[in-house]
C-alpha cells in the first residue's frame, strides 16, 4: 500500500491536505481530503448575546462575511419570532446578491481563471493571476471590476466593505439612501456587460475541457438547494429541494429549520470538516452536493430572462442533471447574471427606500435556525439561548462541509485518472487541486478556523516508507 499526500492546495481559501492511497499495483485505492485546523468558533460565541452574533459570525470568513451576517440575523429574527419589514428583506437580498457576485468573481477570475484560460499544463510559474494579467489583461481587469462591484454594493448598504454589522435581528440597521440606490443602479450596466462577455468567452473555451469535465468529479450524487415556492432559483429565503442523479425529486419544500431531521453529520477522525449526508439514505450513500451547480440542478427555472436563457443552454451539458463538478464554474457565471438581474428588479421596487427597516421585539423563543444559500451552498445557523438572550449552544452547517464527501469523491476520481505509479507529474497535481477548487471550498470557514498551513505531497510505500515528497512553493 502506498500513500501520496498532496499538500498544499494553493489558491483555495483556507488550507487543506490531500492524501492519495495507492494499492500494491500502484493504482489509486482511496483519497482523503484532510482539514487539519480547528478554531472552534462555536465555543467563542457561547455566553454572548444573540444580538451580537451577526457581527461575530461575520468574522468567521473573510470571503463571505455577509452570508454569515445574514444567516445569523435570520436566526435572530426567528428568536424574536417577528416578521421583519419587507424593505429590510429586499435590502438584505440586495446585499446578499452583492456578496454572491463578489465571491463568485473571486472564485472564477482570481482563483480558477489561471487554469481555465491559461491551460492546466501551462508553466506553473505563470499560471497565476500575474500570468493571467499578461495573457488576458482585459478579462483580468473586468474580473477585478466585477468583484469590486459586489463589494461596493455591500459597502453602500452597510457602510463597510467587510464585516459589516448591518444585518441585525429584526431587520437591518439603516435604510437605503436615494443616492445609494442611484449609485448601485449606475454600476449595474458595466457589471452586466462584464458578466455577459465573460460568459461568452467561457462558453467558447468550454470545448477544450472535455477531459476535465469528464474526470473532475463527475459522478452521481444527490443535490440540495433552496427553491422558491414554484421551484425557482432562490438564495435568501426558500425551502429546500433535494434531487437525485436522475433528476427525480427526493424531497421538496423542506423546512430549513428542521434540517436536523434530514441532515446527519458524520465526523471522521482524519478531518475536522464534518461530513453531512441525507439521513433517510444514510452515510455515506446520502452524499449530496450544494452550491451553484446544485442550485441550478434543483431549480426548475431562474426567473429572470438572461439567466433563464443561459440555464437552458447549461442543461445541454447533462440531461437531466449536470453531474460534473467542473461545471460549478459555469454555474457561477450564470448565477452572477441572475444576481445582477434580480438586483435591478429589487432596486426598482417602489418601496425600496422605505425607512421602516427594523422590527423591534424581544426574545420570544429559546431556539432557532436561520438558513440561506451562501455562495458555496446552503448555510445553516442554529442557536440555543437562555434567559436574557445569551447563547448557550451554536451549530453551523456550512457549505464547504456539505461538499466534503463530494470533494473526496472528486479527488479520488481525478487521482485514479491521472496518478499512475509513484510519480507525481505537475499536470496531475494541479488537476487534483483544480478539482477541489471547482467547489470553491472555503476552508477557513468550514472548520471555522482562520489562517493557512503549508501543505505538501507525500508518497508512502506499501511498507509505510516515505518514497516521494513534493512541496509547493
Amino acid at each position: 500500500m502506498q500513500q501520496i499526500v498532496i499538500d498544499p492546495v494553493t489558491r483555495i481559501e483556507g488550507h487543506a491536505k490531500i492524501s492519495i492511497q495507492l494499492d500494491d499495483a500502484g493504482q489509486v485505492a482511496d483519497c482523503r481530503f484532510h482539514v487539519t485546523e480547528f478554531r472552534g468558533f462555536e465555543k467563542f460565541c457561547e455566553g454572548r448575546s444573540f444580538r451580537e452574533m451577526p457581527a461575530i459570525t461575520a468574522r468567521i470568513c473573510g470571503i463571505c462575511p455577509v452570508s454569515h451576517l445574514l444567516a445569523s440575523a435570520k436566526t435572530g429574527d426567528a428568536l424574536l419570532a417577528v416578521e421583519i419589514p419587507e424593505a429590510a428583506v429586499r435590502l438584505r437580498r440586495i446585499m446578499h446578491f452583492g456578496q454572491l457576485i463578489q465571491s463568485h468573481a473571486l472564485s472564477f477570475f482570481h482563483l480558477s481563471s489561471p487554469d481555465l484560460l491559461l491551460g492546466f499544463d501551462s508553466d506553473p510559474n505563470e499560471r497565476n493571476v500575474m500570468g493571467l494579467i499578461a495573457a488576458h489583461p482585459e478579462l483580468t481587469r473586468s474580473g477585478i471590476r466585477l468583484r469590486r462591484f459586489g463589494q461596493e454594493v455591500i459597502q453602500i448598504l452597510g457602510s463597510r466593505k467587510i464585516h459589516s454589522g448591518w444585518g441585525v435581528p429584526g431587520g437591518v440597521k439603516t435604510p437605503l439612501s436615494a443616492e445609494g440606490r442611484e449609485a448601485i443602479l449606475g454600476m449595474i450596466p458595466e457589471a452586466m456587460q462584464i458578466a455577459i462577455r465573460t460568459m461568452d468567452l467561457y462558453k467558447h473555451t468550454l470545448d477544450r475541457f472535455h477531459e476535465e469535465a469528464r474526470f473532475f468529479g463527475s459522478f452521481p450524487s444527490l443535490f440540495m438547494g433552496m427553491v422558491t415556492p414554484s421551484g425557482g432559483l432562490e438564495h435568501y429565503d426558500g425551502k429546500l429541494r433535494i434531487i437525485d442523479a436522475t433528476g427525480a425529486l427526493v424531497a421538496d419544500q423542506l423546512e430549513p429549520a428542521r434540517y436536523q431531521d434530514y441532515i446527519g453529520e458524520a465526523v471522521e477522525t482524519w478531518s475536522y470538516l464534518k461530513s453531512p449526508y441525507y439521513k433517510p439514505i444514510g452515510y455515506p450513500g446520502g452524499m449530496y452536493r450544494v452550491g451553484p451547480l446544485a442550485r441550478l440542478n434543483v431549480a426548475t427555472h431562474c426567473g429572470t430572462p438572461l439567466a433563464d436563457a443561459e440555464l437552458a443552454e447549461f442543461r445541454q451539458l447533462g440531461r437531466p442533471v449536470v453531474l460534473s463538478s467542473f461545471h460549478y464554474h459555469y454555474a457561477r457565471l450564470i448565477e452572477i447574471l441572475f444576481c445582477l438581474e434580480k438586483m435591478t428588479e429589487l432596486l426598482e421596487h417602489p418601496d425600496i427606500l422605505d425607512e421602516n427597516v427594523r422590527a423591534i421585539a424581544r426574545r420570544n423563543r429559546f431556539e432557532a435556525v436561520g438558513a440561506l444559500e451562501a455562495p458555496r451552498g446552503t448555510l445553516f445557523h442554529h442557536y440555543k439561548v437562555r434567559d436574557g438572550g445569551l447563547v448557550t449552544w451554536v451549530n453551523m452547517v456550512i457549505a464547504t462541509g456539505q461538499n466534503n464527501l463530494p470533494m473526496n469523491r472528486a479527488i479520488l476520481q481525478i487521482a485514479r485518472h491521472y496518478v499512475k505509479g509513484d510519480t507525481l507529474p505537475e499536470g496531475m497535481l494541479n488537476r487534483v487541486e483544480s478539482g477541489i477548487r471547482a467547489f470553491d471550498p472555503c476552508l477557513s470557514c468550514s472548520t471555522h478556523a482562520q489562517g493557512r498551513i503549508p501543505l505538501q505531497i507525500e508518497l508512502y510505500g506499501a511498507d509505510g516508507r516515505l518514497c516521494d515528497r513534493v512541496e509547493r512553493p
Binding site: G47, R48, S49, R51, E52, P54, A55, I56, R59, H163, G165, V168, P169, K173, I360, R362, D387, G388, G389, L390
Partner: protein, 238 residues
C-alpha cells in the same frame, strides 16, 4: 474665592482655588485621558490615566484628585507620563476580553478612543483571557463583565445620584468584580430601581441596554451635571 497662579508645561496660568488640576488643565485646552473621572461624580483617582508630574515631588499625581496650589509647576506630557499612560491602557485591554470590532459600543467607547488617542497600536502584555460572566438577567440592561475596567463610575452614580447603592465592588486584584446587592443576579436585585444611570455613565460596553447589536450603543451623560447642580442649588424647591 482666591485666585492662584501656577505653571503648566512652562506656561503661566491662573485659576480659582476650588478647582482641581484636571479642571484647570481642561479649561486651558490640555487634554488628558480619564476613565474613572466623570463630571458630577466624586473623584477617586482609580484609573491613574490622568497622572501628572509636580515639581518638587517624585510621585506622580492624579490630576483629577489634585487641588491646585500657588506656584504649582505641572508637567502633563513628559516621556515618562506618555509611556505610563499607554502602559496603563494596554494593561486594561489585556486584563479582560475586549473585541472592539464586534462590541456593542464600538466607535463610541471611551476606552477605545483613549487607545487611539495614546497611539496604542498593539498590546505588549499577554492577554489574560479570563472566563468572565455576562449578566443578562435584568429586564432592560446587560452587564458584560468582559468589558468592565472597574472604574466604579456605575457604583458611584448608583450611590451618589440614585441613592440606591445597588452596585459595589467585590474581590481583589484581577478577580475584582462589580456586583449587584450581595452578589446576586442583577435581575434579582431588590434595591435596583431600574433607573439606568449606571448604564449611561459606564465608559465602555460593560453596561448597555438590551436589544443593541454591534456598534449600536450611545451613552447620554449630560444628566449628571444637571442633576448635581440642581440638587446643590436647590433648583427644584424654590
Amino acid at each position: 474665592m482666591s485666585v492662584k497662579t501656577l505653571m503648566i508645561n512652562g506656561q503661566m496660568v491662573s485659576a480659582s482655588e476650588d478647582q482641581t488640576l484636571l479642571d484647570v488643565l481642561r479649561e486651558n485646552g490640555i487634554e488628558l485621558p480619564t476613565l474613572c473621572h466623570l463630571d458630577g461624580l466624586t473623584p477617586i483617582g482609580a484609573c491613574r490615566l490622568c497622572l501628572v508630574e509636580l515639581a518638587g515631588s517624585n510621585k506622580l499625581h492624579p490630576a483629577c484628585m489634585t487641588r491646585i496650589t500657588e506656584g504649582m509647576e505641572v508637567t502633563t506630557h513628559s516621556e515618562r507620563l506618555v509611556k505610563y499612560r499607554r502602559m496603563i491602557l494596554e494593561l486594561l485591554f489585556a486584563e479582560r476580553n475586549h473585541f472592539c470590532s464586534i462590541c456593542v459600543i464600538n466607535g463610541q467607547c471611551d476606552l477605545q478612543q483613549m487607545g487611539y488617542d495614546v497611539g496604542m497600536d498593539h498590546v505588549r502584555f499577554e492577554y489574560q483571557c479570563p472566563a468572565v460572566e455576562v449578566d443578562a438577567s435584568h429586564e432592560r440592561f446587560i452587564m458584560d463583565h468582559n468589558r468592565c475596567v472597574l472604574c466604579t463610575r456605575c457604583v458611584r452614580v448608583c450611590h451618589e445620584m440614585e441613592g440606591a447603592h445597588t452596585r459595589d465592588v467585590m474581590g481583589r486584584g484581577g478577580s475584582s468584580r462589580i456586583i449587584t446587592d450581595l452578589n446576586q443576579l442583577w435581575g434579582k436585585s431588590g434595591s435596583c430601581t431600574g433607573c439606568g444611570k449606571c448604564v449611561q455613565v459606564c465608559p465602555t460596553g460593560a453596561l448597555f441596554e438590551k436589544g443593541r447589536s454591534a456598534a449600536e450603543v450611545v451613552k447620554q451623560r449630560d444628566f449628571l451635571v444637571y442633576i448635581k447642580t440642581a440638587r446643590e442649588k436647590h433648583l427644584w424647591i424654590q
